[in-house]
């Protein structure tokens, strides 16, 4: 709105005539020279920047202990093997070559196993990196992580084509529909199969101790199978990390299952049900847990957050 009488004098627009002694009238005072001015910058990005959680102060004592023990065992073994190979060469050349071949073969297998463990463990970090990129809206990093993840997926799983030049929301929706949804279905199928086995074993097993053992073994195998669907091949360290992640995500998955689970447990663990179904009630609860575990593992391995 420009009221009548708008005027600009000496770089100022004053529309209210000041009266003596009164407060000055509103006005606009243009900067000297009237050169184009840059837009204001309040440093907003820095002021509101995500506060990073306090980082860990290096390795934990347990990790240092483990690493030291590993260095000692591997290093001293290598030195010992070197000395032994040198001693064998001193006895006879053929004996030295043979010992060297044995040592190289043995240590090669050990280092191959360590390498596989490390790869399996580090591959799980992809999930964290991709989810972090998604959370902060970093399109470039997310696209790179998604493409790397797709390349690792087992053959036969549908893949989304070129994700470049696609808005992030659209790319995520496509990955969700084309790849993650079928994986979730496969994971659910694995969960149902494991549930049947857990049900059968728990119902016929003679002791509760054996129940727990079978449940733990089948549970770990299930988690690894679901991880493989997502393109991860975790070794021992990877599996431990995965189990930790599954435990953390369990509460999230329970969001949709808590009511059903409580009902199943309530009904099947009741005295009447126990009387009627006997051990089958506990077996049904174990089976239900296996299905829940499959969903939790799927949740933990998803490269994109749900919803």
């Amino acid at each position: 709105m420009t009221p009548p009488g708008d005027r600009r004098e000496d770089g100022a627009t004053g529309l209210r005539t000041p009266t003596p002694g009164a407060a000055p009238a509103p006005r606009v005072i243009l900067d000297e020279g009237a050169a184009p001015a840059p837009r204001l910058d309040f440093g907003w990005e820095k002021a509101v920047a995500v506060v990073a959680p306090p980082g860990s102060r290096g390795w934990s004592s347990l990790a240092l202990l483990g690493a030291g023990a590993a260095v000692l065992v591997l290093g001293l073994s290598l030195l010992e093997a070197g000395n032994f190979v040198a001693a064998q060469f001193a006895r006879a050349a053929w004996l030295g070559w043979l010992t060297l071949a044995v040592a190289v073969g043995g240590f090669g297998l050990v280092f191959a196993a360590i390498g596989r463990e490390a790869r399996g463990y580090l591959a799980l970090r992809t999930v964290d990196r991709a989810r972090a990129a998604h959370a902060r809206g970093d399109v470039a990093v997310l696209q790179a992580e998604l493409e790397a993840w797709q390349a690792r997926l087992p053959p036969g799983l549908p893949r989304t084509g070129n994700l470049r030049d696609m808005p992030m929301d659209a790319a995520c929706a496509l990955v969700e529909a084309k790849t993650l949804a079928p994986i979730a279905q496969d994971a659910a199928a694995l969960g149902r199969a494991a549930a049947m086995q857990a049900f059968a074993v728990t119902a016929v097993s003679p002791s509760p101790g054996l129940d727990a053992l079978v449940f733990a073994w089948r549970g770990i195998r299930l988690v690894r199978q679901v991880a493989a669907l997502h393109g991860f091949r975790p070794g021992i360290a990877g599996t431990v990390s995965l189990l930790r992640r599954v435990a953390l995500d369990a509460a999230t998955v329970a969001a949709t299952d808590v009511a059903v689970d409580a009902m199943v447990r309530g009904v099947l663990s009741s005295r009447i049900a126990e009387h009627v179904a006997g051990e089958a009630a506990a077996a049904a609860v174990a089976a239900r847990r296996m299905i829940l575990l499959a969903r939790t593992a799927d949740e933990a391995c998803r490269i994109l957050p749900r919803g």
Partner: protein
């Protein structure tokens, strides 16, 4: 309340209770305000800052603190309705961040958006239990249409008498001189001729436009005369206020179209969007009204009171069933147009200008609060030397010229000013360029007081 509405309210209340039980609450936040109050920018800023807060940025510290730091994620979810266009915060943000920047155009149609806010539960075992998901429903619409709501309780005759009485007073009379001359010249038995109806509509519409654009007035009805929306100026709009003396076919035609217009607005505007909401924020460009003169100032207050009578006025049954907002915030927008020390005065002034509206809301059982906010902060505090004295001012970059300027917005009284205040004349606040913004909205956008407003409005529901 008719039985059908009652059934709908009961069903909605049941749905709300069921959602609360499973931790999937839905909050309908009505962002209301007269035209040019800044609804679109407010919604854009609210969405951008909430999304950024969901990513961990401290864009809304007061809301975050009020919620106990339990907000985990915020993301856009598909709205319930698929027939209404989606509010596009990215496009608005992109326009504000562009070089040269553009402020959103006048809103000409509905748009809607829903945000899902995942929050950790309040209990001590909150970390172990599944998170709650609170969905915030938002709509944007032409502010002019809001003033159709008071018409819903009036017939054509009553509306005509009230409108003509207002039109013959003050600056309106000069702006509507042609229209008033036209209706005064109509014979008592004017026939139901479309030509006459259209002529009267055109003159009345032009008068309303002049009142809005030249005199800064806001109590202008019907809203679709000023902002016809996507369907344009259909013959449905060809009616206008008529004096009692005109009783012929033309009066019947206008009354019929008036009723049809209201039915259309009720079906497309009031019932789908304003029949039920949980919280309400009323945006008021109180500074603009102050600068536009005494008539614009009182006119804005009357318009707000009339709208509040419909929106916030709930009967005991509606209150019992939760169909009325339990918190209503009145916010003076564009608070960055005054220096920091004057913002309290701005909040106090909005308290006075919304006296009638607040009374209605409080009578409906709602808790009321007044705020001064700037959805996007475009200025910084400065000091100007005027007539030998240093005064607090603001400094920004002018939108059109792109040059820096210091603006002294004048004294902001804490209550409606004395008559002498208005003698001085009018002032037109220039438009500012928005500050430097990230067009992807990763860090939201700078604001003033938006977090405190949201904390008061919705933090108790998180």
């Amino acid at each position: 309340m008719d039985p059908l509405s009652l059934l709908r309210v009961v069903l909605d209340t049941t749905e709300d209770a069921a959602r609360a039980l499973i931790g999937r609450e839905r909050i309908r936040l009505a962002v209301t305000g007269l035209s040019r109050a800044g609804k679109t920018v407010f919604l854009t800023s609210l969405i951008a800052n909430l999304l950024a807060a969901g990513r961990g940025a401290r864009t809304l510290p007061a809301l975050s603190d009020a919620a106990g730091g339990r907000i985990r994620r915020v993301f856009v979810v598909p709205a319930d309705t698929e027939t209404v266009p989606r509010f596009d915060p990215d496009a608005h943000l992109g326009a504000l961040a562009a070089d040269p920047p553009r402020w959103p155009e006048r809103t000409e149609d509905f748009s809607t958006l829903s945000l899902a806010i995942d929050v950790e539960r309040r209990t001590s075992l909150g970390g172990l239990l599944p998170e709650r998901r609170v969905t915030l429903d938002l709509i944007d619409y032409p502010g002019e249409w809001l003033l159709d709501l008071p018409m819903l309780r009036q017939g054509h005759a009553a509306w005509s008498a009230e409108t003509l009485a207002r039109l013959r007073r003050g600056t309106r009379a000069a702006a509507a001189a042609d229209f008033l001359a036209f209706i005064d010249s109509l014979p008592p038995e004017a026939p139901a001729e479309d030509v006459l109806a259209k002529r009267g509509f055109t003159l009345y519409r032009d008068a309303l436009r002049a009142c809005r654009d030249t005199h800064g007035l806001r109590f202008l009805q019907p809203g679709r005369f000023l902002n016809p929306g996507p369907r344009g100026e259909a013959p449905l709009l060809w009616f206008f206020p008529l004096p009692d003396s005109v009783r012929g076919g033309l009066a019947d035609l206008c009354a019929r179209r008036y009723a049809a217009y209201l039915d259309d607005q009720r079906a497309n505007f009031l019932d789908p969007f304003f029949s039920r909401f949980h919280r309400q924020v009323v945006l008021v460009d109180v500074l603009g009204a102050l600068h536009a003169g005494q008539e614009a100032f009182t006119d804005t207050a009357e318009a707000l009171a009339a709208v509040a009578a419909i929106i916030s006025g709930a009967n005991w049954l509606e209150r019992l069933l939760g169909a009325a907002p339990s918190r209503v915030a009145f916010a003076a927008t564009k608070a960055d147009h005054v220096p920091t020390r004057a913002r309290d005065s701005l909040a106090a002034l909005v308290e006075h200008i919304t006296l009638g509206a607040r009374g209605r809301a409080e009578a409906s059982g709602a808790t009321v609060s007044c705020h001064a906010v700037a959805a996007i902060r475009c200025t910084e505090d400065a000091v100007a030397r005027l007539e030998g004295q240093a005064v607090a001012a603001v400094r920004g970059v002018l939108l059109q010229e792109g040059v820096g300027a210091t603006i002294y917005p004048g004294e902001v009284p804490m209550k409606p000013p004395e008559p002498a205040f208005w003698d001085a004349g009018l002032f037109s606040m220039p438009e500012f360029r928005p500050p430097r913004l990230d067009r992807h909205g990763a860090s939201g956008m700078p604001h003033l007081g938006l977090d405190a407003l949201l904390a008061w409005l919705v933090a108790d529901l998180l």
